[in-house]
Amino acid sequence: MDGVADEAPILQVLGLSLYYGDFRAVRDIDLEIRPRRITAIIGSSGCGKSTLLRSFNRMNDFIPGFRAEGQVRFAGQEIYREGIDAVSLRRRIGMVFQKPNPFPKSIYENVAWGARVNGFRGDLGELVEASLRKAALWEEVGDKLDQSGLSLSGGQQQRLCIARALAVEPDVILMDEPCSALDPIATLKIEDLMRSLASAYTILIVTHNMQQAARVSDFTAMMAMGEDRAGMLVEFDATQTIFTRPKDQRTEDYVTGRYG
């Protein structure tokens, strides 16, 4: 599978099915996510991409009736096992959402908040600067850290949210359509940022924008809805393979715009 096989996975999904009450939203997923790579999850609306993404840091736990069958192993540990602290899991697997959602606080506080809550004992000022630099935002906001995070443009707000996620030093960052509310230039900045972050972090991104998946990701997981309306994994491969010679006809049809 074009070099997929030679690295130990950071996330392993084994026979995973996800339910909302009686409805099975995602079924029988087997997937291995490589560390320090960008993996895109593509597929038509309603095929369970976000549900799958959110299962990696137990974000779905907040939804009443949600239930997971099968396993998600993070660094070898089953995350749905009893006794796993979902809060500390989410510190190691951060998330960036579709709409930038900074707190109505200063830029500084937006970044410092998570670290402070987690009992960070080092120099908060240094941490804020380092996180903003990693998020490629320092040059633009370094001299106005006390301004409200909400005063920034959409693209800057999204990078602020990425800085906030980075400040708690996660291993994995989940991104759920992080650019869908951004203009093309802001989108390219986020994509550049993702590429530079991929040297240190594992990134998973759900996107409806196939060109974005093609541009930014190393691996692509193609999902589709089955006849029972449950989402399933159709094909997983190196992104280049998915967009030039996919093996499954449903992937071919989706990436060429014939279906979806």
Binding site: S45, M210, T244, R245, P246, E252, V255, T256, G260
Partner: protein, 229 residues
């Protein structure tokens, strides 16, 4: 997610394919007429072939422009992308094949009034196979049929066999009577041009296989002992 652009993409892909076939038709005509000019020493026809090459070149650029525009505006992926890339490669090969036909026409113009060294027997056979290969490789392109493309490539062995035979025969003429050398070389150059056309038809077959399956490999690797031919 519904995308209306698929209709535009399909229409543009179809237009490119139509132009590729149009170019193949012009090429076939040039190849067939080059043999006629050679056999009948028809310099007027040879001049027409040389002049007609410009039209083939122009069509090639037009198709490449259309492919570039399609890539830039439609972002084709997977099978569509392979089809566009295959079309670009195929028109490049056809343009070179047409150059070989024009090259044969130029030989006719350069031969002067000397009669042919010998009646043409194997060269028309080569041309027949060349034309079949071009036609069938384009049929495989339209049908996206890798099996048919493989059958096309297999025919190149016939062309190579005929070429070797011509080579030996003309060599023996030249050895026995060096005064035949220039007339023998004209025929040898003509045969060589047809041999190259067969190789290019094999390239087209390779592109069709790539387009249909995503596999990229050479169909008739050159045997090491034929490098001098």
């Amino acid at each position: 997610m519904k995308r209306s652009s698929r209709a535009v993409l399909d229409r543009e892909l179809q237009a490119i394919q139509d132009d590729v076939l149009r170019m193949a038709h012009l090429l076939d005509e040039a190849v067939s007429r080059s043999l006629e000019a050679l056999a009948s020493h028809n310099t007027q026809l040879a001049n027409e072939i040389v002049a007609g090459d410009a039209q083939i070149n122009a069509l090639r650029f037009r198709i490449e422009e259309a492919c570039l525009a399609l890539i830039a505006t439609q972002q084709p992926a997977a099978g569509d992308l392979r089809a566009v890339i295959a079309a670009m490669n195929i028109v490049g090969d056809m343009e070179r094949m047409a150059d070989h036909a024009a090259g044969i026409a130029r030989l006719v113009l350069g031969m002067g009034t000397e009669p042919l060294l010998k009646p043409l027997i194997d060269i028309p056979r080569m041309v027949e196979v060349c034309r079949t290969m071009v036609r069938e490789s384009l049929e495989a392109f339209v049908a996206r049929d890798p099996e048919r493309a493989r059958q096309v490539a297999a025919q190149d062995n016939t062309i190579d066999g005929l070429y070797k035979q011509i080579f030996r025969e003309l060599l023996s003429f030249m050895v026995e009577d060096p005064s035949t050398t220039s007339r023998a070389l004209y025929l040898l150059f003509a045969a060589h041009n047809y041999e190259r056309i067969g190789d290019r038809a094999t390239n087209i077959a390779e592109r069709v296989i790539f387009m249909a399956s995503g596999e990229m490999h050479e169909l008739n690797p050159e045997p090491p002992d034929t490098a001098h031919l």
